[in-house]
Symmetry: C2
Subunit: 341 residues, 2 copies
DNA sequence: TTGAAAGCGATACCAT
DNA sequence: ATGGTATCGCTTTCAA
């Protein structure tokens, strides 16, 4: 394994009969040096393709230019979109991104936080797991002076900047749309109410229903604790077979909506028409179902960008930030499944 | 910003009236130390929650425990699955993963390679871009003694271990299946032939067709250079409106197959029956289209795991590996779109 | 079994 | 404008 020994700053100094400090300054452009020296050093460095040892620089400067990014699950269209945005922004500012997934469980998140902190990331972007409540493991970053920005799935227990989607309003608009298309008996397949996003969407749903003087019925709200397609299928079956079947369903997520759609199709309901259907998240697949699934786009890419911008700014300012929350607008993606009754 | 000063190894040594070397040894379990000393040091370290400065350790040991991972596009079900597998395996072995996307263009890949090399990753996992030919930027890793493992999209120009999917056989089986279901006039929406995976799938398709004594017609093979849904739609239209319309289409990718399916549905062809359809990749969405799309599963997760295992082993053995290629089996996912004629 | 000390490579303070 | 040198925190010979 031929490993060519890399040239160091000291080597350059020795060869050029300069001091290491001078070479360092010439390369980094600090202080006052003669044009001639700078030229000479740069030329030599270029010629011998000198590359500073990042490990040494990081060590000395006590920073890594690495951002930690923790999401519940990478294999999830929304989160991968989010990551994509984060990568792009990080790259633009000369940062690298270390990615980890918590698997949506607390232990996974704690482990990821610990190892990232141990490695010395400069800051953390995190979308917390379903199980996270206290967040001491995240607090640890702040105590070491490393900024944290939460996004999408957040907790108010931690004082950090946050970037969230306007779940309430997104849900409100989605349900409004169903109503404007003529649906009147609107059910909601929700998530666990302890999860903030789920709760907000529920509240948006409820408000829209009430604002239009429609029935709000507890038994039209079903809790999908796993947010799975299966639950969408099962609860929809349950709703449609009940004494008071709804004529539209607003689902916490596209996946749940797919389950709902699959049941409705198998039971020969017309979608849209007999039953209107709305998802949330605008997964890629919603464009391709039949009928196409109407949904609410969360702009994951922009969200990742925004969170990363905030974080990098904090890192640069040696600031931990405060409790500010950036709320990203959603976009109603009207396709077929929600069209006129 | 209250930043509590972290305790160092020297601090422990001073407090315990030991030398730094002893403390280091006690903590790392090397050499022969008295039980008592070890206990004492560990206890003190624990009590003051000592965490070794990773930057210093990395610098000293000249390694980072970070693996670089470059894929064309994160927002792509197959690649995110792959990443997920890589993360899992890396975690198991105490490694971190720095993720970057090339955007499927050469310049993006070169940039990612450079920054990762500059940062000092211990090794590289890469699925190359469509534009990559020479691969000097990847060769740079090898020249610095850092192992590289290529996966999925690879080039034979570089002598590194590779993990690929058995595209040829996957395609062969897929087409066989269509034939066994009674289809006889099988077209292929292919990718660019310079891309190895695309070429292999084409060859598998061709072999299956020929092995059964069916017609192989050049005009039934269409090149989707962008591998887009639109191309799937357009070429399918073109095929079906031609003088010799096929009765089945094997698509290079599920996305292309979706385009094909959308055209066929809009033109009122029966799928399956009148036209059989097979995709490749087994995207999540293929389960949810209507009809469900038959596809070929590439086991992305296992692929990410395998590539990462190989890489970590090389890193640990200070080995660059050779040209070995691990071929992962594919799985035929038979759903509705390819069923009997 | 333990200690002393020499670095790893780059930076930055203090001189000159 | 440039040099000398301590230093970051840890590991690892070499000695004792």
């Amino acid at each position: 394994m031929a490993e060519k020994r890399k040239i160091t700053l000291k080597d350059i100094a020795r060869e050029l009969k300069l001091s290491p400090s001078t070479v360092s300054r010439a390369l980094n452009g600090y202080a006052s040096l003669s044009e001639e020296t700078i030229r000479q050093v740069k030329e030599y460095a270029e010629k011998h393709s000198y590359v500073p040892n990042a490990l040494a620089v990081n060590f000395r400067k006590n920073r890594t230019s690495i951002i930690g990014l923790i999401v519940p699950e990478i294999v999830h269209h929304f989160f991968s979109t989010t990551i994509s945005g984060a990568l792009e922004t990080a790259k633009k500012h000369g940062y690298h991104v270390l990615v980890a997934q918590s698997g949506d469980i607390l232990s996974g998140e704690v482990f990821a936080c610990r190892t990232m902190l141990g490695l010395g990331v400069d800051g953390l972007l995190i979308s917390i797991s379903n199980e996270t409540v206290e967040g001491d493991h995240i607090q640890d970053f702040l105590e070491e002076g490393k900024p944290v920005v939460q996004f999408d799935k957040i907790t108010d227990q931690l004082v950090t900047p946050k970037v969230v989607v306007d779940d309430f309003n997104g849900a409100y608009e989605a349900v409004n749309h169903l109503i404007s298309e003529g649906y009147r008996k609107i059910a909601h397949l929700s998530g666990r109410m302890e999860v903030k996003n789920a709760h907000e969407r529920f509240l948006g749903y409820k408000k829209a229903v009430e604002d239009h003087g429609l029935d709000f019925r507890e038994d039209w709200v079903k809790n999908c604790s796993a947010i799975s397609e299966q639950e969408g299928y099962d609860f929809t079956k349950q709703l449609m077979e009940s004494a008071n079947p709804p004529d539209a369903i607003f689902c916490i997520t596209d996946l749940v909506a797919l389950g709902a759609m699959n049941y409705l199709k198998s039971a020969r309901y017309e979608v849209p028409g007999q039953v209107g259907l709305m998802g949330f998240s605008n997964w890629m697949l919603s464009e391709y179902t039949s009928p196409n699934l109407s949904s609410v786009d969360q702009h994951g890419f922009e969200m990742g960008q925004k969170a990363t911008e905030l974080l990098i700014e904090l890192i640069k300012n040696h600031d931990l930030g405060d409790n500010e929350t950036v709320v990203m607008k959603t976009d109603l993606m009207i396709r077929q499944s929600s069209l006129g009754k």
